[in-house]
Symmetry: C2
């Protein structure tokens, strides 16, 4: 089956990319843009920056120590998208591989001398994922042979001993290669990498061992911590190992870490990782809107993890977080033209960013950039969108479950259905059965969607958040209609989130909204909104909202602390709110999701 | 005169260290501890870490590229304190100097190849300040000869051209050396370094040119920005150049940058520099209590700058900020035993830090550490406390002004007085004239001290914030008594400071207070205080406060955003507040200055 994650057991089984065909719509459009434009953009920039040339032996070598991984993510994207340029790039990769399988354009000659920061095993991880993508979408070729040779080298070099990599990633890749090939040593190698971590397996670094999750063994950890992408990639690998080895305790450990992380270390958008300095989670309830780092790659890692947990357990909460993260992080990470990207995704921007045509040397989140020194996010977006259909629905022994609604055709088990919807703008979802069949159809009612209804023929029934099922048998032409309530709603933070005290945000369906100020539009610095029901306007197919607000006359510029809160004052305005994923598409802007109320 | 800053003109003239003699009391105790314990501690650690050995030619060289500057700060502290160990260390420094005056243990052999990050001119700056301290407190010796030779080398190498240093510091040092020696080229060199900045004079770096204030010329900047210590050291040099060249426009530029920075980029404690990542100010109103970086060195730089602006203008606001910064940052930076230090000074700590006996590789602010990889703060505290008397009072043509009240004897102009007070615990300040004399005595009434009175003989008069004057002539035994109101007060933030919305802090006199929780004490994570008048208790000579509060029963651990604020609930407690400068002296703790109200 053509799919990035194919566990051998679990409550749900994946559907392949061929089983979920996207039609034009919110995600269909984005996947098409990705496959047509973004993949080519990424290739072009990797050529320009010399990261592809590194594989051809061009010197001096260019890019950071982990730049090989960008080539592999691009190859993975190309594999899923069936891009014809893959073999040429794969040939360059093959050329750089050494006789014993070692492959790294930075560390050849000083192999494995800096496991903490070298990213060699991390790079193999991405190579293996690209190889698996190729194997499943095409079959054996030069890229898959390079992959196997590299994986065998890793097993020979690391099976014994206590070492691992400063950046997790290879764990899940080895399990997937095991799933794709049946070679058990890959699973065993992954298992050992997981179990070694935290004993500890790595040396001291400035940020402390929690940075790369080497502070405590994975079974003993209570929460995701340290570098967010590392923590979440590791957790993906742990779930994969747990599923393939039948290790319930290990799976439960990750579930409980996920639960605590979602409750205490996750932004409203689904973004994870608050701190800029070390790209880490930070402490419980440290969720500042302005300095929210929320790296795009961490949100992709979170989607990957929630997908694995959903497959293993069938628990709707994983699909709920995925939806939030898809619409408010993944869709935000790339511009509407497919050619520029956010690295960090703050929820409040006070100063408009400077426009930039070239490489962004920083990872701030004020304006999307075409490329970065560390350009993990564009390539990660490319491979994720290229395999997006895999995330939208799943199979059960007795039917299918649809997790996410976008115009599409879905074939699984004994069923074929078409989904027709204007979601997320419109809450009406029509599921039309395309051929006679059996088995139940499960539809996800999102956590926010109380007061939903499901209509089948004459029968209209109220349904609650969670999966709701309609039983077969089915005749071609049968219809189910799910109606999700799309009233905008005000959302308030837990009072332990200090940075959000006194503020509220507006959501509508799965979308988080924000105020954005471009050019001469009213400033957002001294703003008080009234938490009244927002008005709706449809502008070019996008639902925008409007709330009453007062934009304050600025206080004086003296010492900003005094004996009493200065009362509001200011001018009444109608504050326009746009979906967060669309902000920053009109040029340099200030923005805020959380509004003082 | 023995003093770190001796401008040739200004509204106020400095008093020398010999003119302000501290008696036991808040600052007298701290200066004595510094001179007896902290200076020796710093020397011991610099020996242990090899930074002194670098000057003796020991190899491999140890420490960061700027570690030479720590030796120079230590030498400066020793010079002010009259420490007998100075000549031995100075001899090591002399030994490392090259024939043409060049002196740097890191870059010898590759001189000036990395002005952006090399810190060579920065290191000279600290050497020059040490040399000036020695010249003024002792006279010519080996250290002062090394200093002159180095300064002459710098002038030869950099007088022409467009270059400067990535870390400002040498500007103020050159001006002071000019003041100490009369050699005009040092002033001219400083002037050129100031004027070159922002043209730009340095290359691109990852953090952008604002990081080292090379984004715009200093005359055009509106606010302090970028790396806080760099910005504030530069501003000190700019004031010095402006004063010595009579450049009113340049002085006004710094005054206006200072004003805007204090209004928008300064924490309640006087701390400056919010961001950890690049140790920078961040944007206007970006003042998070938990991630406040507030480097101790930045507060020292802020004190140095305000001192220069006070001397130049006589404006009380500079003394007000200095007081705030002295009591809430400088006094916080060092433990009560003089042997451990804060690098960062957050206003909210959620997780107790791990105790650490050795070198702290991070710069977090949870617990004071004996030493750091980058150990600028301990040595900076040592030199600042060793010269503290210089900051406490100043001379006018017709008398003295006392800026800060601590038990001391002050001699200036035609006056000699003794200050007797229990300040900051007690608001009563007795100024006793020690000998017949003339001239007016100016006393600062702090900005927070409305309802103060000044008593002279039978006359009691209400006095307002600002300087209040009592005219001479004086007879020995005459007394002035200033009564400052020490009622604790609730302080609220400007509503543009998003991170503090819905919170208030308690201050008493010049002190900011905080709640601290050690061990089994009630947790501070879910707390609501009532903004009622705090009760006072004196514990071991320290005034502690108490306010009513509710410590909430924690919410559940689900998704932390929902349709309504969860109402309070919880347990009524009497919340104990301690002076912020004393927090973290009882072991690992959580802490918060800003209390939800």
């Amino acid at each position: 089956m053509v799919d990035p994650v194919l566990p051998s057991s679990g409550v749900l089984s994946p559907l392949g990319l061929d089983d979920v065909r996207l039609a034009p719509g919110f995600w269909g459009d984005r996947v098409a843009l990705n496959n047509d434009v973004t993949i080519a953009h990424c290739r072009e920039w990797q050529e320009r920056e010399g990261w592809i040339g590194n594989f051809r032996g061009e010197r001096p070598r260019r890019g950071r120590e982990f730049s090989d991984s960008e080539m592999y993510k691009l190859l993975e994207a190309m594999a899923w998208a069936g891009h014809p340029g893959l073999p040429e790039l794969a040939a360059s990769v093959a050329r750089a591989q050494e006789g014993d399988g070692y492959l790294n354009t930075r560390w050849s000659g000083s192999r494995y001398t800096d496991l903490e920061w070298g990213h060699e095993l991390y790079c193999y991880g991405h190579l293996l994922q690209a190889g698996v993508a190729r194997l499943r979408s095409y079959g054996e070729d030069e890229l898959t042979r390079v992959t196997i040779k590299a994986a065998d080298h890793v097993c020979r070099r690391f099976m014994d001993g206590t070492q691992t990599c400063g950046h997790p990633e290879i764990e899940m890749a080895l399990v997937e290669l095991y799933r794709a090939t049946g070679t058990e040593r890959y699973l065993e190698m992954a298992r050992r990498f997981v179990e070694r971590r935290g004993l500890p397996a790595l040396g001291e670094i400035r940020f402390g061992r929690a940075y790369f999750q080497d502070d405590v063994p994975v079974r003993e950890a209570r929460v995701f911590r340290g570098h967010a992408v590392r923590a979440l990639y590791l957790a993906c690998g742990v779930v994969d190992v747990a599923v393939e080895t039948g290790d319930e305790e290990l799976l439960k450990a990750v579930e409980s870490q996920w639960e605590r992380t979602v409750a205490r270390r996750t932004h409203l958008t689904g973004g994870m990782g608050s701190r800029h300095q070390d790209e880490s989670f930070g402490d419980d309830y440290e969720l500042p809107p302005d300095r929210a780092y929320n790296e795009t790659c961490a949100s992709i890692a979170s989607i990957m993890l929630a997908h694995r947990l959903l497959l293993a357990t069938g628990d709707v909460r994983y699909a709920d977080l995925t939806e939030r993260t898809l619409y408010n992080m993944l869709a935000t990470g790339v511009a509407l033209d497919g050619r520029s990207f956010f690295y960090a995704n703050p929820l409040h921007v006070r100063v408009p960013a400077e426009p930039l045509d070239g490489v962004n040397h920083a990872a701030e989140g004020g304006l999307r950039s075409p490329w970065f020194d560390v350009s993990c996010c564009p390539n990660n977006i490319a491979r994720t969108l290229a395999s997006l259909p895999a995330y939208l629905a799943g199979a059960e022994p007795d039917g299918v479950r649809i997790h996410h609604y976008t115009p599409s055709e879905i074939r699984g088990a004994d069923l074929a259905v078409r989904v027709e919807t204007g979601y997320p703008w419109d809450g009406s979802v029509l599921v039309r059965v395309l051929a006679d069949g059996a088995g139940r159809i499960g539809l996800r009612v999102p956590a926010w969607a109380s007061d939903s209804t499901l209509t089948r023929g004459e029968e209209v029934r109220p349904v609650r958040p969670g999966y709701v099922y309609a039983e077969g048998p089915w005749r071609a032409g049968d219809e189910l209609r799910l109606e999700l309530p799309m009233r905008p709603r005000w959302t308030f933070p837990d009072r332990r989130i200090d940075a959000l005290r006194g503020s509220a945000a507006v959501e509508r369906g799965p979308l988080v909204y924000c105020a954005e100020s471009v050019g001469d539009e009213p400033p957002l610095g001294d703003l008080t909104a009234r938490a009244e029901p927002p008005a709706e306007h449809v502008v070019d197919g996008v639902v925008e909202l409007e709330v009453p607000a007062v934009i304050g006359g600025a206080d004086g510029d003296g010492w900003p602390y005094g004996p009493a809160s200065v009362p509001g004052g200011g001018t009444d305005v109608r504050l326009r709110l746009v979906p967060y994923h669309r902000w920053g598409n009109r040029g340099p802007a200030t923005m805020r999701v959380w509004l003082p109320v």
